[in-house]
Symmetry: C2
Subunit: 422 residues, 2 copies
Amino acid sequence: MRKWTDGRPGASRRSFLKAGLAGGAALAASKAQAAGDPVITEVQDWNRYPGDGVDVHPYGMPSQFEADVVRRNVAWLTADPISSINFTPLHSLDGIITPNGLCFERHHAGAAVIDPKEHRLMINGLVDKPLIFTMEDLKRFPRYNRVYFLECAANSGMEWRGAQLNGCQFTHGMLHCVMYTGVLLKDILNEAGVKTSGKWVLAEGADASAMTRSIPLDKAMEDCMVAFGQNGEALRTEQGYPLRLVVPGFEGNMWVKWLRRLEVGDEPWQQREETSKYTDLLPNGKARRFTFAMDVKSVITNPSPQAPITHGKGRTVLTGLAWSGHGTIKRVDVSIDGGRNWHTARIDGPSLSLALHRFYYEFDWDGSDLYLQSRAIDEKGYVQPTKNELRATRGENSIYHNNGIQTWYVNKDGVAENVEVS
Amino acid sequence: MRKWTDGRPGASRRSFLKAGLAGGAALAASKAQAAGDPVITEVQDWNRYPGDGVDVHPYGMPSQFEADVVRRNVAWLTADPISSINFTPLHSLDGIITPNGLCFERHHAGAAVIDPKEHRLMINGLVDKPLIFTMEDLKRFPRYNRVYFLECAANSGMEWRGAQLNGCQFTHGMLHCVMYTGVLLKDILNEAGVKTSGKWVLAEGADASAMTRSIPLDKAMEDCMVAFGQNGEALRTEQGYPLRLVVPGFEGNMWVKWLRRLEVGDEPWQQREETSKYTDLLPNGKARRFTFAMDVKSVITNPSPQAPITHGKGRTVLTGLAWSGHGTIKRVDVSIDGGRNWHTARIDGPSLSLALHRFYYEFDWDGSDLYLQSRAIDEKGYVQPTKNELRATRGENSIYHNNGIQTWYVNKDGVAENVEVS
């Protein structure tokens, strides 16, 4: 009898077979693979030969069969990849936690690689005692863990001008939700002592764009965090390693990454990213400014253009995400006929304030055309508007803060497409 | 003025500098790196040159500075890596979510690599209608998302014979906690129709060990899941991709990975893993069997042998994890003097049933010797015992189900060590 160790060390089953050490097994495997139709009456290859041992993968990666579950950028959207977006593949995910490797990234001068030993956070401005913290200093403050969504203000921005991008990864994928670990911004501000004249906080990044945004002091003292962890481990490089600001419910651009400085002042700084960018030009030529909170919103992630129905008629699971910068989601309605009839979706999993909510709607598909829509309602009673309702008040010059209802058209073959219904 | 694009395309800042295209910057960088002491008055390198764009990392990985945050195996513990353990680095993590790449893995014949298109789940035995499901079939049942801890019954098993392994990664690292996505076991059993004579369910894996365990039907119908997702994305290979059983609160061995068959029967099957293994030999020669639920337990993750105190006296954050196979954690007590005095720890983050709970205790360290202990109490009122209390009732022949209180000794230099106090 051949011992299993014949193909080792370091040889996976695949290379074991390739090496031709077990001709019979290789034949059986290639037969099963070539057939297309699964051979369930035979003992499968993975049941016959051992897999990799625990010495092979100190840090694990997804299965080779999940190779298409990746972030994607859209080359024509921006002039250069260092100031661009890598979208979360929402159509391939479930639950409310985004795995760290798939959290969308948006940079203004690429992802800074920072040695945490050399990193510092400074607090200056209208404080009693300016301070400089090392990473170790910060980790000596009380730590907290909170699950929050982060949405870029430009998420769904292309949709102001009608259905554009064919897939929820691209229309809604500037969105992720992780458990952050960090300290409260108010705790370190209190350590410095904010003067009574202090009303705003400037957050500044250590990357080459030196990203800077003004945060109202009230928000800073309410629930903002200075975070060094996401989903248990250290922040990822592209999420601001070793330190980022967390501004729950507010637009993602304010969650300054690679955070190196907090300045307390008595008025906003009027930085580029709060004047020429991240403002909303109205029909009358004026611009909405400091529109921080992300309004109530939802999207159906399956079925969707990148995730068509492949099983034909019958039992169908519709699922999606809902969120609000004003708290929890109270209800999600779903329509399969373009908004004529609405059904209450089942919200599943923990309902955490300012976090993603997962909803499902199970139905029997009769094979006819579908116009799928979802409409979220948050704890404050805000109802997600249609895109046309948004346009009626804000015009069509906007890029940011599009929380309109999304429609996917699904044809009889299950193929889905981004459309608008009036 | 040199344009940033000089070092591109594809060149990271590091390779840019190495290539010698910017001699002055390279000098400044190497000076800062060589000095050891951070140069905070200079503009740092990562603030001067852009980082990687969004086209570089479709699936993200941790920062290069986190290279020591990995799973580790202990070569001498088992005869071969294909039937061994890769431990979660608990001392490097925070919060209650374990990132997918760091979830401990334990195999009995290596990690099976399964093509989901060829994978099937069969239900047979005492059912009205035997069934075979494809992965797509399963995903048409209502889906649920639940956060659960998974602990191997052998976690802390070496500690029965006194303090052994120097680090919570090794003493307690057969433990992880993720959000699972899947369908309810009861839903698919009901689809097959369980006969009234059915009392147990056999779960069988498709790996080369064909892992098999008997699950009481009551538990199967209560809260078990057949899961295909973890933390939003597909299960990882080493966690049973594409399908695993989730048996909340019960010992990890029962959470059969690469799940391919469920057989309903009227009594347990007396498989190897529930007779010669995963039983507890008592002093009288009898063995406890079917000891499924993991009892209330906790461990301090920082400070600990792999995570000493490096900042000297003063403000110190102590943190750890608590969990119970009987529900939520009601309270965690912490002692810094080996159990003479106890302090109530702060439990932070969501308190979810059968999930990890994160606790903190902040104190001013006066620099004297510490004997750190934690003691968890669950919602049923179970109190975590000392190791000696456990030994008094179960003797010292056991390997499994050691939920005794762990002690770390910390000396004046902050160095920590695994010890026992009587």
